[in-house]
Symmetry: C2
Subunit: 341 residues, 2 copies
């Protein structure tokens, strides 16, 4: 072990608008051995998620920005390769938040042991992890879907969107997905079982969305922002709820000018008694046990399906992440850092 | 009675932007006598409220617009002058929604008998009526003030704003009012007991508001819209709540251009986990009994005070209403249509 190298990806520069490969830097450093009470983790999988774009900015947010020259943040599935910690043994597989690197030390705080026999360990980064829980908590607590209501979600083939639509259907609501391209749309409709799907790349996207929502929209689960909003907004029904968990299409926007849409937004918030509510899943931590139980049941019964898009090699994480921001992934984007031996 | 005339004010034209006197027309028509099961009401007081501006537009809203040539809508306190209805007697004083006119027929539906001995009957249009209930339901249900939190409300000397701040203080929160001019500010601070008040006409309004909210803003009760929002928005804390019940400063806006504030709004909704929630008080009808009980207690104990601005004569309603839209009233604006004999 002592001769092993840690390959890590650090933030080289804060992006101006759209990130570019040069905003990241790959480094190779020696693996540090654990002290008493510590353990050494070897990353098996790294999760790539839209929220990471926000951490690259210096702007105030619910989480601290990644510092320049610091390792990029991220959720990981790792194997304990050396333990001097009483609660972990070599060979344990854990969920950790070790970031974009192949090895990391841990004092055990915040780790969650995974049972590879219960579910593929990658699901702890997706449908049974943070993205799945974001969908679950945001939809059920803020969205509160009722039978017969219409739920719309964008990035519907992605980690969060796919869970939102399927949970909506389990609760008796009608799920309308938005996705980019024929392949993803077919997957959302045929594999995930959404009631309808609309391609946001279509010239007549807004008209198609309206046709797919003949009774209007009761819940719009906002995880993309940008142009989709303009098509969704006029369709929101009285008392519609808009949980906001991500704005990937806006993360790279520097400034906006033109028509000021804020007064219209507020007028409609008032006239239609709309609820717009930003959230992060951490806020709903008390619902996690119910989530793990429900979601495991739904996966077992086939009511929730998921798709993973796995890229090999930590050195490919920056390029994969840039693709994620442009919707190039197809399913939950995960980097395989090392194979399970 | 049969020789009496009904003076009524109808919508003559839909305003383009700011309403003008010519958008209203005064008419005099014969009073119609009640048929079986009906009663004739003589208006004593007419409530003038900002929401009426919205009803002058043809735009879709939570309520139907007033039709051209139809009587302007409005809450009224009236006396039963002739009754052919078993549940009402001549001389009863009732709360009705009879609009801008001196007489009206009713079938009794939606009327609420008032006890003039229990409280001045005008309070049924203000602190013990729709505006007071708007403050109560919006602040407690959506705002959910906690001890030590900071609650900001504009139009703080008005019917809704004055109740919001005083209820916030009863719940242990810090109340910061916004009002226009030294006289109203003094009233809000000295008579209503707000913790701080800021004059929105001051050149350094935004700086003064920031200084008045050293711990940020946890609840902004939005009942005005317009420029105040820009000063409030940067001060909203994580998990802040924004109940939206009125946008009087925007009711006359036709179109907006310049910087598009929507992307920034949504980014901050996400980053700060904000809640923005439009509402109308009708939605919370099940809380009305609690409201009547609590508010009557608070008025009796002196914890809630109120101010009325009474204008004489139904013919003066249009001018008084135009003044309301410009903040010229000082307290709950009410038209005295007829004296209590």
């Amino acid at each position: 072990m002592s001769t092993q190298a840690n390959t890590r990806i650090v933030l080289a520069a804060r992006p101006q608008g759209r990130p570019k490969p040069g905003d990241f830097r790959i480094e190779t450093v020696d693996v540090v051995q654990p002290g008493e009470g510590e353990l050494l983790l070897q990353m098996l999988y790294l999760s790539l998620d839209p929220y990471m774009r926000g951490r690259m900015n210096a702007t105030k947010s619910y989480a601290k920005p990644v510092e320049i020259d610091a390792v990029m943040e991220g959720g990981t599935v790792a194997r304990v390769v050396r333990s001097r910690h009483p609660e972990f043994a070599e060979g344990d597989i854990v969920l950790s938040h070790s970031g974009w690197q192949s090895f990391a030390l841990s004092d055990g705080v915040g780790l969650r042991k995974l049972d590879p026999a219960a579910a593929p360990v990658t699901t702890a980064l997706g449908v049974l992890g943070m993205p799945g829980f974001t969908a679950y908590a945001g939809l059920l607590t803020i969205g509160q879907p009722k039978p017969g209501e219409t739920v719309v979600v964008a990035a519907a083939s992605g980690a969060v969107g796919s869970a939102v639509g399927q949970i909506a259907r389990i609760k008796g609501a009608r799920a309308v997905g938005i996705a980019g391209g024929a392949q993803k749309c077919a997957f959302v409709r045929d594999e995930l079982g959404f009631d309808a799907v609309v391609d946001h790349r279509a010239d007549d996207f807004a008209e198609q969305l309206q046709a797919a929502c003949p009774d209007g929209i009761d819940i719009y689960f906002e995880n993309v922002g940008g142009p989709v909003w303009d098509a969704v907004f006029p369709l929101l029904n009285d008392f519609a709820r808009v949980p906001v968990c991500g704005l990937i299409a806006q993360y790279n926007v520097i400034a906006d000018s033109g028509i000021d849409r804020l007064p219209t937004l507020m007028q409609q918030v008032l006239r239609r008694s709309l609820t717009i509510r930003g959230f992060i899943q951490r806020e709903f931590v008390d619902q996690r046990p119910a989530f793990y139980r429900d979601m495991a049941d739904w996966i077992a019964s086939g009511q929730v399906r998921y798709r993973e898009d796995i890229v090999d090699g930590i050195e490919n994480a920056p390029q994969a992440f840039l693709g994620l921001l442009e919707g190039k992934n197809f399913g939950k984007l995960i980097v395989r850092v090392a194979g399970i031996p």
